[in-house]
Every structure is written in structure tokens, then in C-alpha cells.
Amino acid sequence: MVGSNRLSSRLLFLYIPLLLFTIFLLFPFYWMLIISLKPNSLLLNMRINPLILTQFTLEHYRYLFTNTDFPRWALNTAIVTFGATFLALTSSILMGYALGRFRFRGGNLAGTLVFLAYLIPPTLLFIPLSQVVARFGLYNTYWALILTYPTFLIPFASWLLMGYFRTIPRELEECAMIDGASRVQAMWRIILPLALPGVLSAFIFSFTLSWNEFLYALVFMGSGQMKTIPVGTVSDLIRADVFQWGPLMAAAMLGSVPVAVAYMFFVDQYVSGLTAGAVKG
């Protein structure tokens, strides 16, 4: 009796709510997947249940690679993502170390400014920034995004790393410096390896944010061959209200896979990064 009571309360208060959440949060992905695999002949037939996949085809994926610029968009996205992440991470490690480690006049102000920079959204800047990008001759080049993405990556990553650097005891590098290492050597050999989890979090976050970015990519690199996956998919695969749903969903799947995989591998770094960013500021 007690056991069945417990089970029914767990069903009611745990498993059923969890099931509802799972359906709500994952259904769009399920839909994305089945449409990307569904033959066109079945897609428009509303007499059969659209939620079930009765036959499947890889035709939409083949179409994506042979009839569209998708491979090029993927290349563009990868170049921009790694370029921006590398630049942002290098600057942020230095910035985070300075903010977390050094005592200097203006340190608090610098920390506050970095925090505020994190809160300035791209929608506030993109119009004048498009003219800055054009004036520097960067329009429709990889540099347009490699140099502008760090504006939202650096504040976040610096803040995150600052927190990590602060948790490492000062005595460690002081010992190294007494033993004759310079400040930079102590940082490179002693402190950075200890802050590696933080660096990994910052990397995963920068990677995801760059891969997912849409507005700057649309405005600064939105024409011809230079589109990223999100921009190319949204603007080239939807033409004059004619939706090619199969290839669209296939592109959405493929464009989501790298971040989903990166995230599945590093979910703990992700969560700790998220909370360090959200909780500590």
C-alpha cells in the first residue's frame, strides 16, 4: 500500500510533469528531424498523420549539399567562429587576469565597464556598426565578424575568467616569483593551467555564441557567398514565400549539431559558465 502510494505520488509530481516538459521542450526538434527525413510526396499529404515518419529519405540532405551553398556557409561559419573565439579568448584571459589579480587604480571601474559592456545588445549597435565595418573596408569579409563578435564575447568571458582567477590563491604565483619566475611566466605556467576549467567554459560559450549569432552576420556578411549557416538558411532557402521545408529542416538540423555536440560533451562546463556569468554577474 505504502509503496504504491509512493509510486503514484512520484508519477503525479515527478514523472508526468517531466514528461510534459520533455514534450514541450523537445517537440520542435523532433519535428525538425522528421521533416528533414520525410519525402516530399508525404509532406503535403494532410490525410496521413504528419507526426509519424512512415518512409524516410536523405534526399533533402543531398539537395542541401549539391543544390545550395550550404557547404560554403558551413565553412564561413567555422572560420568566423574559430577566429572570433580565438581572438576573444586571448584578450579575455589577459583582461580577466588583470581584473582578477592586479590591484590598480581604476580596477573597479574597469570591472564595472566590462560588466556594462556585457549588457549592451547588438540590436543597439548594428546600424552604426555597419558603417564602421564599411569604413574599415571589412564589409563582406570574415574580419567583419571576427572583429565584431568579440564585443559580446570579451565582456562575458573576461567576467567569467576574472572569477576563476580570483579563486586561485595568490601564494602560488608569489612562490613561483620568489623562485625567479617573472610575472608572465608565473601566469603562463602556474595560474593558467589551474584556471583551465574556466578557460574551457569560456571557450564553449564563445564558440556557441559565435556559431549562433545572426544579426551581425545578416547585416555585415549577408550577401553572396559569405553567408553563415543561420543567415544563408533563412535568406536563401526561403525564396518569395516558397518554402522548401525538407532542405530547410535539414539545414536547421545540421546547423544545430555542432553546438549540440559541443554542449553535450561539456554540459558541466556549460552550466558552471552559465551560472558564473549569471550568478556572479
Binding site: 515527478l14 510533469p17 517531466l18 516538459f21 521542450l25 523537445l26 520542435p28 526538434f29 519535428w31 494532410m46 504528419p50 507526426l51 586571448t90 584578450s91 589577459l94 588583470a98 592586479f102 590598480f104 580596477g107 574597469a110 560588466f115 556594462l116 559592456a117 549592451i120 545588445p121 547588438p122 540590436t123 543597439l124 549597435l125 548594428f126 546600424i127 552604426p128 555597419s130 558603417q131 572583429l147 564585443t151 570579451i154 610575472r183 549562433n212 545572426f214 549557416i229 543561420p230 538558411t233 533563412v234 518554402f243 530547410l248 529542416m249 546547423g255 544545430s256 549540440a260 554542449y263 554540459v267 556549460y270 552550466v271 552559465l274 551560472t275 549569471a278 550568478v279 556572479k280 554577474g281
Partner: protein, 314 residues
Amino acid sequence: MTTAPASAVARTTALTWRERVRHWMESEPVLAYLFMSPGWIILLLFMSYPFFLGIWFSLTDRMVGLPTGEFVGLRNYRELLHDRVFHLTVINTFIYGFVTVPFKLLLGLLLALLLNQVFPLRNVLRAALLLPWIVPTALSSLAWLMLYDAVLSPFSWLLKNWGLIESNIAFLGSRTNAIISLCVANIWRGTPFFAVAILAGLQAVPQELHEAAAIEGANAVQRFFAVTLPVIKGIIVITTLFSIIWTFADFQLVYVLTKGGPANSTHIFGTFAWQEGIGGAGKLGMGAAVSLYMFPVLAVLSAILLRYVRSQEA
């Protein structure tokens, strides 16, 4: 030793000079500014500079493709105040940014409390349910675009199949429907963010306190308000403020789902600024003015957030 060789004196001063440089390079303020400079150069060039340039643009009639514009004072801002589409934009942004928040917060809190229980496959589920927030919004919005399709929507199909509706629902066909649809998609994307942030906060809730309260006879709801909530309050406030700021300044979800339509009735600041400044007429000045109308709200929210974070640190 009154007659020290000149070369020795030179060597001593050379050494002290070198030492001085080395000492200077090791000094904390110098290194701090040196280390911060790459980051600050990027932020100054691509954030501060365009910010002030945007203020200047908003005071001109500058167009895409023309080298300069005429100074027009506050004309762009005034015209927007009399623009019906802009009025709708303001209303929509507040609905989209603020009305969705209680839903995201409550659902996120509930999900976090569920995921904090012990059950099989907990880690897998925790990872999977964060996906809406992880994948590119432009791409997941495409899935929603099809879920909301006037002909192909599976929601319409299901409801028709169950005999609840006669004909398909026009999810994006009218302003009211479209705004509700946008909000639902936004709640879908934002809920996991709240859930994961709150779940992390729940780890700090002392279990002994929970058990003690249970022994004292407090039920689960009482325990939540007395023990759990005080611990996660800080996270809730900060997560909420972040979420409002990001949603208020969103772009891609609305751009993909409605592009501001039907008849420009579902724009938010971001998409309307894009249409005015880049997409449609190319009126850079006007677009910049639309963006800058966000600034007061963002500034107030940021100030609250900053004060709150400070008070938590102290």
C-alpha cells in the same frame, strides 16, 4: 676607491636602468593596463565608437549609400512618436520582453525543482532539456515557423483530428495570434535558461535545514518558501533581469517568424530598426533612432542589475 673606472660606473647605471624597466614591467598597474589593452581596443573600436556614432546618426537624415547626411536635430525621434507602427512596436516589445517573463520564471523554477529530484536518466534529461536555449535561435525558429504554418501546422492537424476546431488556425495571420505565437516560442527558448540557472542555485540549499523543517512538520510548500526560496532568490532576480534585457533587445526569433508582419503589426525594436535602417528604406538615421529608444529601458534595467550584483558581492 676614489678613482673608480668610468666603465664600471657606466655598467652600474646601465644595470639599474635595465632593472628599472624590468621593475616597471613587473609593476601591477602597468601590467594590468598592458593586459587589458587588447580587449579594450576591440571594445572601444567596435562598441563605444559605434555607440556614439549611432547617437550622431540618429540626429541626421543619413541614408545607406550616401556619404553624409544633414543634421536634423530630434526630427527622427519626433517622427517616430507620431508613427503608428512605432507605437505598436513599443507595445509589442513590452509584451514580448515583460509578459513572457513570469511564464519563463515559473516554468523554469518548476523544471529546476523537478530536475533536482533523484530519478533515472537525470543527467541525460538535464542536458537534453537545455537544447532550446543552446541551438541557434534562427534555426530553431524555422522549426516553429513550420509548426505555425497556415497549412502544414501539426497543431492544427491534431486539433482538427480531435474535433476541436473546424479549420486551421492562422497562428501568424493576425496581430494577436502572431504575438501569442511569438511569446510561446520565446517562452520555449527561455525556460531552460531559467531552469538551469535555478538548478545550480538549488545545489546551495542546505539539506539539513530541509530535513529539520520536515521534522518540525513543515510541508513541501512551506519548506520551499522558508528554506529554498531565500537561498535561490539572488539567482532568480539576476536571471530574470538578464532575461528581460535579452528578450527586450531580441531580433532573430521575430525576424524569422513574422519579419514584423502582418502589416508591420508585430515588430519589436530590433526588427523595426532593421527594417527602417537596413532592410527597407535604408534610412540609417531613422533606424539608429529606433534602436536608441531602447536605451533608457536598457539603462534602467542594467543599473538595477549592477546594483543588485554589487549588493550580492558585498
